[in-house]
Amino acid sequence: MAARGVLNLVQASEAALIIAAQARDQAAFGELVKRRQGWARALLRRMCAGNAAEADDLAQDAFMKAWDRMGDLETPAAFAGWFRRIAVTTFLMAKRRQKAIFEEIDDASPIAAEDSTPEAAAGAKIDLERALSRLSDAERLCVTLNHGEGMSHSEIVETTGLPLGTVKSHVLRGTEKLRRLLEAA
């Protein structure tokens, strides 16, 4: 019985898993977590400037909130956007607790000075992660949502609750900082 259940879960579509999780099926939700955890943790790692431990804690919080609110999800197709909003809200709440969300980092000096480290050999991916860590929390959040998640400015406004002008400014300034950091590297 259990083996058949596991086999069904592995073969099930994401929509079927979501519907089962909405009916409080813990195994279906577990499979959903298994499939979505890479994306969720990568998103939060970027927001947390590469702090993997903090990102994983926030990702776990976000999945727990998702489990509690599965009934609020209207259609399975909306899961990605709905969960992204939960993840962003979880991140913002954590930063507000730390009172750090609008801490500005104006240092946009090139990261070439750190190129002698072994990570530099890994290429542009690590450079991007490192460059992101040089942005302020708000800039990193807006740039990640805009370029990484493909969200429009108005969608970012809706998700984060930040004013439109602030979002545009953070995306513009964050992108410009990244360009300067990466081109100089």
């Binding site: 813990q26 577990g30 890479g38 727990m64 370029h147 992108t175």
Partner: protein, 134 residues
């Protein structure tokens, strides 16, 4: 700038997604713990609500019968007063009425206890209902 934006979008898309079965297991265990806790809380709330309803019912029945007895005795007292008004032993009836008045104050005290019990039970029920909604 648009070339750079395209490069940035591509870089994000190519970034690795960390896979960790341990993470899924931790979330699964946390969900199971939360569900167990929710079931225990629900059982506790149901028991509390049942107890509250029992207390309210018991107090309500007592209040109902108490009030009934009070009504009968008051009616009887008034009837005695009326009879006494036409009787030669009127002073005696007045004294009895006064004694009955002391009894009324005592029964009012008992009634107050019942009112307090009902109020406490209703308050408890409201708290249990509110926490069930949460």
């Amino acid at each position: 700038m648009s070339d750079f934006n395209a490069f940035l979008t591509r870089s994000f898309a190519e970034a690795e997604h960390p896979a960790d079965d341990g993470f899924s297991l931790r979330v699964g265990a946390a969900v199971a713990r939360r569900e167990r806790a929710a079931r225990a809380r629900s059982a506790l709330q149901t028991a509390g609500l049942g107890l509250g309803i029992a207390v309210v019912g018991y107090a309500g029945l007592n209040a109902l019968f108490g009030a009934g007895q009070e009504l009968i005795s008051t009616g009887g007292l008034e009837a005695t007063r009326v009879v006494g008004a036409f009787d030669e032993q009127a002073p005696l009836v007045a004294a009895q009425a006064q004694e009955a008045g002391i009894g009324f104050v005592q029964s009012l005290g008992l009634g107050l206890t019942q009112i307090l019990v009902i109020a406490a039970a209703l308050l408890g029920g409201a708290v249990a209902y509110r926490s069930a909604q949460d």
